[in-house]
Symmetry: C2
Subunit: 654 residues, 2 copies
């Protein structure tokens, strides 16, 4: 609703002032000077967050019978080593050895080249003012000591521009080369920088008193869900497909967080792991959403250097192969519906496909729901097909089977390689390592067994290395036989694939703030936050016309009824004008106001005011509160919900 009503240009500074003044959020530990990347949510922010989470739970978990779990945040090293986070969850940083300052390498290259391009423009006499110079950019620019107005060669300008367009794609060594080639130094001092080194973004700690069990704060909620896969499958009576879900905090030790709530070190995530048969990624409820039209930015378009959005139905997107499978498409549509429900502007929402070099090697396809803000397009929800990667690596590491066993309609005959171990020979030969050698043999894939079988035939022995045994292991046919056998199978055993929609709740909430913040043209000093009633922190502001004691019993009756109906409300019985009291609450996103006046005492009638339109209607307080309940919780429109109430012209000017 707000978009049509925004004649005033959006100001991020104005929004941030309101959010801080009304304590939606504030830097954590502010009286101690704060710690960057850490924020506290105050009462309205906290209520908004709780309502978003509650909506998420109903929209996804309850609607689709997902299995919610709540897993530990403290995670031992071994789990995150297996998942790949210990090795790969890192950013590149450069250190100035002299000052001790640390820079995130990609951000540094970006800032310096941008500053040089600006200096070039100025030198060429072009306009270098920006539409909106935000706080964040101002701060960053301070780092770049002086933007010298130096004209660059045309060729160099082109090179810089190309680099800036690809800045997210460089590896650490490549960034190092750029730093050397373009002589990028500490922007504040001009001092030289070390080559980029990897910095792991997980917070490390030690579990237990000996300090020997290294652990991390989880970087995502997903791993806890994967590790419980077998228990969840069992809980679901072995039925497939099914999904688990988790809502909780995760952590990321950003090198130098900025951009407010968009890049923080501790954040609330809501993640779904939907397990499917890799041979059948159709979704039983796909028909319900196939006609939903989304704005897609597929990788083919991006690779062609364009940002043009394709608006097609999810059905068509899956059919044409743009979106890999039905389940992925189903979730994209469900994500879209969820985001709209909680206040995202659909005109500032797009689904961008990951480029091949952005995606993890195991991922089959990945789409981000991106929301447009004053910081650009921000990834707020990821929706990836992670294939069988996670379950496979944990299974391999722990020797626990993380598989689904499915009865076949008809038995099938399969030929496969099998290992036949002469157990009693292993003990005397390998002693304490006997188990390890046997486990190694039993864990081989079909391809590996085929190779080993050939080796055994050709050389009359096989030689291999086993983790944890120093010497090579050598076995002949008296120890092991490897051959092809034919079996009739009644059961198909497979590792399910995982489709993972993953929500950054804080980023979504910040984007909604930007999408729903505006000011009335006639009163530009006061702003309005058009949060949907469903997620607004407080639903109703109750304003007695005056503090006259005569009105008190009526206030009490309305208050009791609101409480009984469990509608979050606030009373404002200050002596300020009604209009001012309302506008103070417009800023907090309170969608409805109820005025109690002297007529109320006579006939129980009250006035109901809607925040965005400032329309007013009148009726008995019970009817008014029922209308509020219908509009807030049952998705009924204002027109429909208030159809039986009487239109009302305000007596007091706002």
């Amino acid at each position: 609703m707000s978009t049509a009503q925004t004649p005033i240009p959006f100001s991020r500074d104005a929004l941030e002032q309101v959010l801080k003044r009304r304590f939606f959020f504030a830097p954590s530990f502010e009286i101690y000077g704060g710690v960057s990347g850490l924020y506290d949510y105050g009462p309205p922010g906290c209520a908004l967050q709780a309502n978003v989470v509650d909506t998420w739970r109903k929209h996804f978990i309850l609607e689709e019978d997902m299995l919610e779990v709540d897993c530990s945040m403290l995670t031992p090293h071994e789990v995150l080593k297996t998942s790949g986070h210990v090795d790969k969850f890192a950013d590149w940083m450069c250190r100035d050895l002299k000052t001790g300052e640390i820079f995130r390498a990609d951000h540094l290259v970006e800032e310096v080249l941008e500053a040089r391009l600006k200096g070039d423009k100025a030198a060429r006499g072009q306009d270098v003012s920006e539409v909106e110079e935000d706080e964040d950019k101002k701060k960053r620019k301070k780092k770049v000591k002086e933007i010298k107005n130096v004209k660059l060669d045309d060729e160099v300008v082109k090179e810089y521009e190309t680099i800036l367009n690809q800045i997210d794609g460089f590896s650490g060594p490549q960034l190092g080369e750029l730093i050397t080639k373009y002589n990028i130094t500490n922007p504040a001092t001009g001092g030289p920088l070390e080559q980029p080194v990897e910095f792991n973004l997980m917070f490390e700690t030690a579990i237990g008193p000996s300090g020997q069990l290294k652990g991390y704060l989880r970087p995502e909620t997903a791993q806890g869900q994967f590790l419980n896969f077998s228990k969840l499958l069992d809980f679901n009576n072995e039925k497939m497909p099914f999904a688990s879900a988790s809502i909780g905090k995760s952590f990321r030790n950003e090198i130098s967080p900025r951009a407010g709530l968009l890049r923080v070190r501790e954040f609330l995530m809501a993640e779904i792991e939907h397990y499917v048969d890799p041979e059948d990624k159709n979704h039983p409820r796909f028909d319900e959403i196939k006609d939903v039209k989304l704005k897609f930015l597929p990788k083919s378009v991006q690779e062609a250097g364009s940002n043009e959005l394709k608006e097609v139905s999810v059905g068509d997107a899956v059919e044409s192969g743009m979106v890999d499978n039905q389940t992925l498409g189903y979730f994209l549509a469900r994500i879209y519906k969820f985001l709209l429900k909680i206040g995202v502007d659909k005109n500032r929402l797009r689904f961008r496909q990951h480029l091949s070099n952005e995606m993890a090697h195991y991922a089959a396809d990945c789409w981000d729901a991106e929301l447009q803000t004053s910081y650009g397009w921000i990834e707020c929800v990821g929706c990836a097909d992670r294939s069988a990667y996670d379950l496979s690596v944990h299974a391999a590491r722990t020797n626990e089977k993380l598989v689904v066993r499915k009865a076949l309609d008809a038995p099938v005959t399969v030929e496969k390689f099998e290992v036949d171990i002469e157990k009693k020979k292993f003990g005397p030969t390998f002693r304490k390592d006997a188990g390890k050698v046997q486990d190694w043999l039993l864990a081989r894939t079909q391809c590996e067994l085929e190779d080993l079988s050939k080796e055994l035939k050709d050389n009359a022995k096989i030689v291999f290395k086993v983790d944890g045994i120093e010497q090579e292991v050598e076995l002949d046919e008296t120890f092991v036989k490897i051959g092809k056998v034919t079996r009739t199978e009644h059961i198909r055993e497979f590792t399910p694939n995982v489709i993972e929609p993953s929500f950054g709740i804080g980023r979504i909430i910040y984007s909604i703030f930007e999408h729903q913040f505006w000011a009335r043209p006639e009163d530009t000093d006061r702003s309005v936050l058009s949060l949907p009633p469903l997620v607004a922190p407080t639903k109703v502001l109750l304003v007695p016309l005056s503090s006259n004691a005569e009105l008190q019993p009526m206030v009490k009756r309305v208050t009791n009824f609101l409480r009984k109906e469990q509608i979050p409300f606030k009373v404002d019985d200050s002596s300020t004008s009604i209009g001012k009291r309302y506008s103070r609450n417009d800023e907090l996103g309170t969608p409805f106001g109820i005025t109690i006046d002297f007529d109320s005492i006579k006939d129980d009638s009250v006035t109901l005011r809607e925040r965005d339109s400032t329309k007013q209607v009148r009726g008995s307080f019970e009817d008014v509160i029922r209308a509020i309940k219908e509009i807030t919780y049952n998705g009924v429109s204002w027109a429909e919900g208030t159809a039986k109430l009487t239109p009302f012209e305000s007596q007091s000017s706002e």
Copy 2:
């Protein structure tokens, strides 16, 4: 309800088996061998926890308009240094230097002395079998290598018994003396142990890439609330008293966690910080609860060596001075009501007052709500009057005023000491330290100023140390004047006191499991978990009599209605008997069952079954579901809620 129905002796093993089999919870990272003290909640545990939290939020936050905040878990060192956690949040541990094993000192002394007493009893030919030998005790006992049947001197027995009664009260050095005196060694090897050293129970980590900002995972949610005090007071329009509240995970790096969900390293807390005027700790709603009777265990009774409970009304408890003030009493009653609402057995709940040596030096009074379990009486809710301690220390450390300013009814004249600083002399003399010296002077209390004033008069100078300045500071009267002045004040400025009810959600949930777990005498193999409908993970089990296709449309209609009414339900359409399907869900705590049979198709009627009584009634599915809703969410009794439905005799035997 269950208590009266428990003819079968409670078995903790049986309960734990059910809880694990039905995935209420499980050790985290179990396929990696687990990490002690870390647990994951599976779907029913997670839903139960969410319902308990939701009930808490409504019972406390909504009912009393508390200001909920959500603060960072990562906390910089300085904050927790000020709060006292860096220095005092610790347990004592002993190390066996040879084996590297670590023991919690108090637990070790307790186990060894208990084992020796048992050996003594055996040597004396007394019965040493225990009523219930639980897993936990079995494990602990394994540690004690061999319980030698050695008779002890009568005197020694007495000494051991006295020590065991006071085991929670010993300091580390005292424990060290006991270890030396009684020759306590590593129970497994007999090897010598180091003297106890303090082990801080906070998980440490480094924030940011330089590793220089030391931080911890918060040990409680309280500090975040205190640091936001001024913003919250402002948000509350400066009105007092008011409360903030927070629900979130906290962390405690236990030396050797045991006792399942009762002692864990990561746990969910719900904490309230209620700010009051230290001169008026009355509570405006005290009258509403003053007649609630609680079972108290005051410190006077404990000090007399007794455990006898005093059952008196909260009103009497406050009037007699047993409970320090109305606000504390008010919260004890509210805590009581909350615990009963979510399923605590009131006969296994007591309020125990802290002994003087248990309480922090600043606390005015402190009561724990303790729940009786097979592990003994467990502290599940603490309710402390923390006086002005927290706000004072943070204010002193940060030089931020954390105070309330209250307009006085009539101005008062006060005499007080004031400092008069000759600012322009400080700069030249102290250079960069000038500000520090001035701040130090301005931060002195009245008493300190009185002393300084005397010192200045007597010696013509004052000499003092300022943190961060190496040399002593010396000032004469040309720098500073300190004297008594008379002022008329219109405002009273004070640091509020804090009453802090603090809930360990996991401990409460585990206690409810114990309080509500039982078995029907006629079917002891199957258990029942009598969770109140309000918090039960699933409210309704829907069971079609058979899988006959004819019943399907009816199942669909009932399902849709349940979903519309937002009642969590599950369908069990397996081919098992109705009775078996019900009893499987009794174990999950599902309070209601709806049976759809062939009569249902004719007239929309269904059978409703109650879990604990197995009573059945019949009516239209809409009436039945409305009854369920009333009973579950509006506190209506079964008799009242089903008054309009028809009693029904089961056709199928359970």
